[in-house]
């Protein structure tokens, strides 16, 4: 960890009740250690803004280790910034250069209204899961775990799909603001496991319908979602979802 410091110009989306249309404001971020995370850099700027009597920049975050899916912003046009498979909280300032200008904007999608500055409402993702992203089993009724063997390969594939953190970067990255990768990941996770088979049909139909109703766009195979997904979820999950959907629709 050999740290140095850099100076940056930030152009940050500010939007609140007094300024409902929103616009970009410019701030200086000086003496930023390259060991800082992107969010720690915003913390430092917020401390300075507070001292200057300017309201700090609102942004969502919680775990700061790339797993809760709470953080996220479009940084220089890229969801979660330019590093592959990295959430904003795990993006470190060593990947920026002294003198850089950084444009920071919220996720943009009809289904994700802006709450304030960089904070958006992603409740629509919960609604997609409510439409069927579960296996119907009550607590207490389960049989011994090892009576359901799952081939290691399938278990791993299911895990890879289940690794989605629900951050919404796929929606933000997609020109159509589609939630196919998010929905595909959940449908695949469950379809790959024997436990998920009984409810598979209903699940595929209902989740896809919910996605449409909630105002997410269609998939036109841009693959931007895969490119920006911080967890490396593959668009093969979308293909699997489509197969599940077709199977369900025609049987």
């Amino acid at each position: 960890m050999s740290s140095k410091t850099i100076n940056l110009t930030l152009k940050v989306w500010r939007q609140n009740r007094k300024n409902p249309a929103g616009d970009l404001e410019t701030y200086q971020a000086n003496d930023i250690s390259t060991d800082m995370s992107f969010l720690e850099m915003i913390d430092v700027v917020n401390e300075q803004l507070t001292e200057q009597g300017i309201e700090p920049i609102a942004f969502d975050h919680d775990c700061r280790e790339g797993i809760c899916g709470m953080c996220g912003a479009v940084v220089n046009g890229r969801a979660h910034g330019h590093m592959p498979e990295t959430t904003l909280c795990q993006l470190h300032m060593r990947h920026f250069k002294d003198g850089n200008t950084i444009v920071i904007e919220p996720w943009r999608a009809t289904a994700f209204p802006v709450v304030k500055d960089l904070v958006v409402d992603r409740g629509a993702l919960d609604k997609i899961i409510q439409a069927g992203g579960y296996i119907s089993v009550n607590a207490g009724g389960a049989q011994d775990g090892n009576t359901i063997p799952v081939p290691k390969e399938n278990a791993e594939k299911a895990f890879n799909a289940a690794a989605c953190i629900g951050c919404g970067a796929c929606v933000a990255a997609c020109p159509n603001a589609s939630a196919m990768l998010f929905t595909g990941a959940k449908i695949s996770h469950l379809a790959l496991l024997p436990q998920g088979k009984p409810g598979a049909k209903r699940r595929a139909l209902s989740m896809v319908r919910a996605m449409d109703e909630l105002g997410f766009g269609n998939c036109s195979n841009e693959a931007e979602c895969e490119a920006e997904c911080p967890k490396g979820i593959s668009i093969t999950e979308i293909a699997r979802m489509n197969r599940e959907f077709i199977k369900a629709a025609f049987s």
Binding site: I67, C68, D126, V150, K152, F159, A163
Partner: protein, 637 residues
């Protein structure tokens, strides 16, 4: 008030069955007449909310984050224990019970721990049925690994993302009940008070974090599952919003706070590297299965690790604890790391780190096998530090991680306020003075899926609860008090930011109420916290408005509570004149520098009662008896 633990009679292995039989039942048709508030959507809260709804209760479920799926449980990495004995290596419910009681250094209730060990097996079954993608062997059966403080392999895992997968399982069960109309979820709400009527918990007041509005909700019972308070130290492995406020405000309303000073400092975290740092990142304990901990033998040896020959390295855990080696419990590992650094053998720029080295494991099993087990952890380490742990040993240092203390609860998980239950990390129950790895996930899910559904029924069936609705004066009073505090915070407009105060508090706590404590330091801390708190209320700068999304205001409320709570922790630490588990008072240690308990005077739970802002809290103790595991000096040699 005397503390009644309500532990059922009979042999330890029959207590839970007997109790379940004796508990009154709510008739299935009547369940829909009861409303239950569950605060928290982590493993404990989500599993409780979903299960209570499955039974037919009407549930309202609250969380701070924008979605229940983001609760801090999501970040748990290493795994969850269960006494399945699939590995056929000698595990049993009894052994898990024994390991947990011993690991907790004999400061937990035997009856609770036994029940936890019993239920551990049901948890795995439940999670598999929900579709949790646990790691599997080639034959398709569930795989296990080892964790600290145990000599068997009983930890179930999903790569380094076990918490995520378990929480998504519980969340999916919760979403199923939302769509069934049995659970209503309230995200971006912060509970700021519990409301009592006739001495019973009957509702809560929350702040809507988007609009700033105060909202009141009434119910027949309130279940708290709001997690741990490690963030009192500012730097910890907890998520940023983890707080003590929910439990602390219940404490102020009459719930006793148990063992507040029992804090777990986890041995394997990425070391601190700057004052701007906002949190610390855990490197899962599972890494100690294959990584070897060492420092240079010579103090002040600043050579890079690859230049230090084998003969000049001290694998101090393996040397001192040959039978557990790198897998000693967390308190022991943390204390030893600190000792080595205090002796000047610490490595890295700050000298506050030790090596965790995978070279031997990689040579033995190959890079691929190691990547399969720990790939995501290695990547995370590299992202944060810019160093590749496949090539250079990791540098690690202890960090605040988990709080064993919490609201005092009886065997039914009910606090000293009737109708207020506490689950998961927010209660004090099962881990004594030191939690074993992979046991928090187990406890949260045992509480939520399998305990509260029974015990809350016993309470509701056996209690007359007149109608109370959210327009009752008690709610208005609570709202008015909260409003007053919010207005006060916003009116100060001082010179120091909330984060700055939080950082100062954290430093006091870490320096004086951290890995090792002594009376002098604790006394000093008490005074420093009182001074800091005074300054806070005169000089804090909280920008923005009350009627808005205002993160500085949210934090200010949490830090204000941490300031008061820190004092309670220090008081508790001062009062416990012994060392046990994570509470290490340097005045009480064995010749080998291990924690020296005083079972004659302190074989008990400390439970503190709030008596008002200007008077000292009153201590109550619950004696602990050990009938099944012999009280002995712990040894991991």
């Amino acid at each position: 008030m005397t503390l009644e633990s309500k532990i059922p009679s009979g042999p330890v292995h029959e207590k839970w069955d007997r109790h379940r039989f004796e508990l009154k039942l709510v008739n299935p048709a009547n369940k829909k007449k009861f409303d239950i508030i569950v605060v928290g959507t982590g493993l404990a809260g989500a599993s409780a909310a979903a299960t209570l709804a499955e039974l037919g209760y009407n549930v309202k479920n609250f969380c701070i984050q924008d979605s229940p799926r983001r609760a801090h449980s999501i970040a748990a990495q290493g795994g969850i224990n269960a006494a399945k004995n699939y590995a056929n290596d000698g595990d049993s419910i009894w052994r898990l019970f024994y390991d947990t009681v011993k690991g907790g250094d004999f400061r937990a209730r035997e009856a609770n721990v036994y029940r936890l060990a019993q239920l551990s097996v049901n948890i795995i079954d439940q999670c598999v049925a929900q579709g949790v993608p646990f790691a599997r062997e080639y034959g398709g059966l569930l795989d296990n690994r080892s964790f600290g403080g145990a000599q068997v392999s009983r930890t179930f895992y999903a790569k380094g993302q076990t918490g995520q997968q378990l929480l998504l399982g519980a969340y999916s069960a919760l979403m199923r009940q939302v769509s069934a109309g049995k659970v209503e979820i309230f995200p971006r709400r912060e509970m700021l008070d519990v409301v009592l009527a006739d001495g019973r918990a009957r509702g809560i007041v929350t702040r809507n974090l988007v609009t700033g509005e105060l909202e009141s909700y009434s119910a027949h019972a309130v279940v708290l599952a709001t997690g741990g308070y490690g963030n009192v130290y500012f730097l910890s492995t907890n998520a940023m919003s983890s707080n003590v406020s929910a439990s602390y405000r219940c404490y102020k309303k009459g719930a006793y706070f148990a063992n507040p000073c029992f804090t777990q400092i986890h041995p394997t975290c990425i070391p601190v590297h700057g004052t701007y740092q906002s949190k610390l990142t855990l490197m899962s304990e599972s890494l100690r299965n294959d990584g070897r901990v060492w420092v240079p033998k010579e103090a002040g040896d600043k050579r890079p690790p690859e230049q230090i020959p084998e003969s000049e390295r001290d694998y101090y855990l393996e040397r001192k604890y040959p039978s557990f080696g790198n897998l000693v419990p967390r308190d022991v590992a943390s204390r030893n790391a600190k000792d080595q650094c205090d002796q000047g053998k610490g490595v890295g720029e700050t000298g506050l780190a030790v090596y965790l080295d995978f070279a031997d494991a990689i040579a033995r099993d190959g890079r691929e096998a190691i990547a399969a087990k720990y790939g995501n952890l290695f990547e995370m380490y590299e992202k944060i530090t810019g160093e590749d742990p496949y090539v250079t040993p990791m540098k690690i240092y202890p960090a605040v991680h988990y709080t064993m203390g919490g609201l005092w609860v009886d065997y039914n998980l009910m606090t000293t306020i009737d109708g207020l239950f506490a689950l998961g990390e927010s209660n004090f129950s099962d881990h004594g003075s030191n939690r074993l790895g992979a046991s928090a996930l187990m406890q949260g899910l045992a509480d939520g899926y399998f305990i509260i559904p029974y015990t809350i029924g016993g309470y509701l069936a056996g209690t007359r609860l007149p109608d109370v609705d959210a327009s009752a004066p008690q709610f208005k009073e609570a709202e008015a008090k909260i409003r007053e505090q919010v207005d006060r915070l916003l009116s100060i407009r001082g010179k120091r930011t909330v984060m700055d105060f939080h950082r100062s508090l954290g430093k006091i706590m870490w320096d004086h109420c951290g890995i090792a404590r002594d009376e002098q330091g604790l006394e000093k801390a008490r005074q420093m916290i009182a001074e800091l708190r005074e300054e806070f209320w005169e000089n804090v700068n909280v920008p923005g408005d009350a009627a808005d999304f205002n993160q500085a205001l949210e934090n200010a409320g949490r830090v204000a509570d941490f300031m008061e709570f820190g004092e309670l922790m220090v008081k508790d630490a001062l009062d416990r004149k012994e060392s046990c588990g994570c509470h290490f008072n340097t005045a009480y240690q064995t010749e080998d520098h291990e924690a020296l308990r005083d079972d004659e005077n302190y074989c008990n739970v400390s439970a503190w009662e709030y008596t008002g802002p200007d008077s000292d809290p009153v201590l109550h103790t619950e004696p602990l008896t050990f009938e099944n595991v012999e009280l002995t000096q712990r040894s991991y040699k």
